[in-house]
C-alpha cells in the first residue's frame, strides 16, 4: 500500500506512469495525472497524441483490442483498476463512456436507456426501471423531447438527440465517472451547444473527463485541462492557466495554432 499512500487523497482518478503499446509501437509514454471529482477535465492535443487512448484506459475499453498492452498504475477511489481481481464489467458500470459518433442501439429509446440498468440488475420492478429511465433522460436534457415516443427507434432521432440519448444511456447505470470521447465532433453547432450546456450540468453529479479536438470547447466547459503531445502528457493544470499562461512552449504553440 506504499504507492497508494503516495496518491493524493480527494482525487477520483490517479494515474501513475501509464504506458500503452499497440503491438510494438508505443502510444502512451509514462503519463501521470490526478483527476478530481465533480470537475470537468479536458484532454486536448493534436490527433494521434494519445488522448483518446488514455481515456480508454480509464474504463479498460482497450481490453477489447487484442494487441493493446497497458502498464503502470491507474486507481479509481484508490483501487487499482488493472488489478487481477477487477472485473471490467463492474468497472464500466462505475465509469461510463460516450463515444465520438452517437451509437444508439437499434432498439427503442426506452430500451436504449434501460439496457444498462437491466444487465446490471439495478432495478427490481418495471416501475422502478421506468423511473430510472426517466431520471436519466431528464439529466441528459432529452426527456421533454422524447417523453411521448419512448417506444420509437433510437436511431430515428437527430444526431444531437442521439448523442444525448447515449449520454442518458451512460447515466442510467449511475456511474461515478463519465468519459467522453469527442462527443460533439459529429454534431452541428446548435447540438454542440446543447451538449456543452449539458456537460456543465453533469459536473454536479459526476466526474467528467472529456477528450476534445476543439480548444474553444475545452476552454468553455472544463475546469482542468491536460495537453497531450506525441503520447506524453505535456502540461496539466487549471484550464484558465493553460489557456492564458502555459508553462510549456509546446502547449503555447498548440493553443496559438502553430502545431496540430
Amino acid at each position: 500500500m506504499k504507492e497508494a499512500s503516495m496518491i493524493q487523497t480527494g482525487q477520483k482518478i490517479s494515474a501513475r506512469n501509464v504506458q500503452v503499446c499497440y503491438g510494438d509501437s508505443p502510444a502512451i509514454r509514462g503519463v501521470s495525472v490526478d483527476i478530481a471529482p465533480n470537475t470537468v477535465t479536458a484532454f486536448i492535443g493534436p490527433s494521434g497524441c494519445g488522448k483518446s487512448t488514455f481515456l480508454r484506459c480509464l474504463n479498460r475499453m482497450n481490453d477489447t483490442i487484442d494487441i493493446c498492452r497497458v502498464s503502470g498504475d491507474i486507481r479509481i477511489d484508490g483501487e487499482d483498476i488493472y488489478d487481477r481481481r477487477v472485473d471490467p464489467v463492474q468497472l464500466r458500470a462505475k465509469v461510463g463512456m460516450v463515444f465520438q459518433k452517437p451509437n444508439p442501439f437499434p432498439k427503442s429509446i426506452f430500451d436504449n436507456v434501460a439496457y444498462g440498468p437491466k444487465i446490471h440488475g439495478l432495478t427490481r420492478s418495471k416501475a422502478e426501471l421506468a423511473g430510472v429511465v426517466e431520471n436519466a433522460l431528464r439529466k441528459a436534457a432529452l426527456w421533454d423531447e422524447v417523453k411521448d415516443r419512448l417506444g420509437s427507434a433510437g436511431t430515428a432521432l437527430s444526431g444531437g438527440q442521439q448523442q444525448r440519448l447515449c449520454i442518458a444511456r451512460a447515466i442510467a447505470t449511475s456511474p461515478e465517472v463519465l468519459l467522453m470521447d469527442e462527443p460533439c465532433s459529429a454534431l452541428d453547432p446548435i447540438a454542440t451547444a446543447q451538449i456543452e450546456e449539458l456537460i456543465d450540468d453533469l459536473r454536479q453529479n459526476f466526474c467528467v473527463v472529456i477528450v476534445t479536438h476543439s480548444m474553444q470547447q475545452a476552454a468553455r466547459i472544463s475546469q482542468k485541462t491536460a495537453f497531450f503531445h506525441l503520447g506524453s502528457l505535456v502540461e496539466y493544470g487549471d484550464t484558465d492557466q493553460i489557456f492564458t499562461a502555459p508553462h510549456d512552449p509546446r502547449t503555447e504553440s498548440y493553443i496559438t495554432g502553430r502545431i496540430g
Binding site: 475499453m61 451509437n103 442501439f105 447515449c166 444511456r169 451512460a170
Partner: protein, 409 residues
C-alpha cells in the same frame, strides 16, 4: 458439288470462309479508300476487319438458332419442317448477305469500330438473357407436362390426398401430402441441427475467435459446403444410418430401418452448417463495431452484447440465411434418396423411413418412363410444387438479405 450436302459439318467451314473473305475484303476496301494515309479513315482497317467478321458470324448464329428452334417446335407438332438442305441454304444466304454488306460498307467515313462494338454489345445482351431464358425454360418445362398431368388426375386428389401409391398398371393414388410431410420433416430436423450449430459457430468465429483460430476454423467449416451431396448421401447410407439404427432406433424400439428421417435430417444438417454459419457471420460482421463498443462501455459482458445488441441487429441477415438453408433442405435430393428411404408415409416417428418430393421425382423419372401416363407426369407436378416452394423462400430470403445490406452501407 453434292459432297457439300453430305454433312452439315461443312457449314461451319463455309461460314468461316465467308467471314475471312469479308475480313479481307473490308480491310482492302478501307485501305484503298485511305489511299495510303490511314488518318483519312474514320476507323482503323483492323476495326473494319473485326466488324466484317462479326457481321457474318452473328447473324449466322442467330439465324441458325432460330431455325433450329423452329425445327424442334415443328417436330413437337409432328411435322418434319425445314430439312437439312433448307437450313443449309438459309444459313449460307445469311452469311453471304452479311459478307457482301460488310465489304460494301467499308469506306473512309464508316465508323467500323462503333459498328463492331454494337455487334459485341448485342452478343453481351444475348448472353445475359440466358439467365432469363433458363428461368423461362424451367417454368415451361414443368408447366406443360404438369398441366398434362392435371388433365388426367384431379388437382384436388393431388394436393389433398394422403395416399401415395403409384401403380404402373393404372389407378394410382398420387397424393402429395405424404411426400410433403417427409420433405418438411427431414428439413425440420436438418434445420434444428444446423441452425444452432451454424449460428453458434458463426458467433464464436465472428465475436470470440482470434485471427489464428478463425483462419483455421472458417475454411474448415466451408469445406463442408464444397463436399458434393452424393458424398453426404453415401455417408448417411454407410455410416450414420446403421449407427442410428443400432444405437438409437433398435434399443429404443422405434424401428429397425437404417434409412430414416433422422438419418437424412442429421446428415443434411451437417451439410447446412456452413450455409447458416457463413451468411450469419457476414451479417454479424456488418454490425458496426460502435454498437459493440457502446454496449461494453456500459459494462455488458460479451455474451450480453451479442445476445442483446449484435444478434438483434443482425437478425434480418440471419433470417435470410436460415430461409436459404431451408430452401436448400427442401430441394436436396441425393441425401434423401440414399438416407431417407422410399416409402411414402405420414408418421411422427423420426426413426422410420419416409420419402420426399425430390426422391419421388427421381424415382418417377428414371427407368422406363412413359410420358403419357400420370405416374410419370406426376413428377412434373411435384417439380413445379418444389420449384414454387423454393422460389418463395429464395425470393423472401434474398429480399431480406438485400434490404439488410443496404441498411448498413
Amino acid at each position: 458439288m453434292m459432297w457439300v450436302f453430305d454433312t452439315i459439318l461443312s457449314l461451319p467451314v463455309l461460314v468461316i470462309g465467308l467471314a475471312v473473305l469479308a475480313m479481307i475484303g473490308a480491310q482492302v476496301r478501307a485501305r484503298l479508300a485511305a489511299g495510303g494515309d490511314l488518318r483519312r479513315l474514320a476507323a482503323l482497317p483492323r476495326a473494319h476487319a473485326v466488324n466484317a467478321a462479326l457481321s457474318v458470324l452473328i447473324p449466322v448464329l442467330a439465324c441458325y438458332a432460330a431455325l433450329s428452334v423452329a425445327r424442334m417446335i415443328g417436330r413437337q407438332q409432328g411435322a418434319q419442317i425445314l430439312p437439312d438442305r433448307t437450313l443449309f441454304w438459309a444459313v449460307l444466304a445469311v452469311a453471304l448477305i452479311g459478307c457482301i454488306d460488310a465489304i460494301l460498307r467499308a469506306s473512309a467515313r464508316f465508323r467500323a469500330r462503333a459498328a463492331s462494338e454494337a455487334w459485341i454489345k448485342a452478343l453481351l445482351i444475348a448472353a445475359s438473357t440466358t439467365a432469363i431464358l433458363t428461368t423461362v425454360g424451367i417454368v415451361f418445362s414443368m408447366v406443360f407436362e404438369a398441366a398434362n398431368f392435371f388433365g388426367q388426375y384431379g388437382w384436388r386428389d393431388f394436393f389433398l390426398s394422403t395416399e401415395w401409391a403409384p401403380n404402373f398398371r393404372g389407378n394410382s393414388a398420387l397424393g402429395i401430402l405424404p411426400l410433403l410431410w417427409g420433405t418438411l420433416y427431414v428439413s425440420f430436423i436438418a434445420l434444428a441441427f444446423a441452425v444452432p450449430v451454424g449460428l453458434f459457430a458463426a458467433i464464436y468465429l465472428s465475436e470470440y475467435a482470434g485471427p489464428r483460430l478463425r483462419g483455421i476454423a472458417k475454411p474448415l467449416i466451408e469445406i463442408l459446403a464444397g463436399i458434393p451431396t452424393i458424398v453426404y448421401g453415401l455417408f448417411a447410407l454407410i455410416t450414420i444410418g446403421p449407427m442410428l439404427r443400432d444405437y438409437f432406433a433398435q434399443p429404443l424400439g422405434l424401428g429397425d430401418s437404417a434409412s430414416s428421417v433422422m438419418t437424412a435430417g442429421l446428415v443434411m444438417g451437417i451439410m447446412l452448417i456452413p450455409f447458416v454459419s457463413s451468411l450469419s457471420d457476414d451479417a454479424m460482421g456488418a454490425v458496426p463495431q460502435a454498437m459493440r463498443d457502446g454496449s461494453s462501455a456500459l459494462g455488458a459482458t460479451r455474451s450480453e452484447t451479442i445476445r442483446q445488441v449484435v444478434l438483434p441487429a443482425a437478425l434480418p441477415g440471419i433470417m435470410g440465411a436460415v430461409l436459404l438453408a431451408a430452401s436448400r433442405a427442401i430441394g436436396e435430393t441425393m441425401i434423401v434418396v440414399l438416407g431417407a428411404g422410399a416409402a411414402a408415409r405420414l408418421s411422427l416417428n423420426p426413426f422410420e423411413a419416409m420419402t420426399t418430393i425430390t426422391v419421388k421425382i427421381v424415382s418417377q423419372l428414371t427407368g422406363d418412363t412413359d410420358f403419357a401416363s400420370p405416374e410419370t407426369l406426376v413428377a412434373f407436378a411435384l417439380g413445379l410444387t418444389l420449384f414454387t416452394l423454393t422460389l418463395c423462400l429464395n425470393v423472401v430470403a434474398l429480399m431480406i438479405v438485400r434490404k439488410y445490406r443496404e441498411q448498413y452501407e
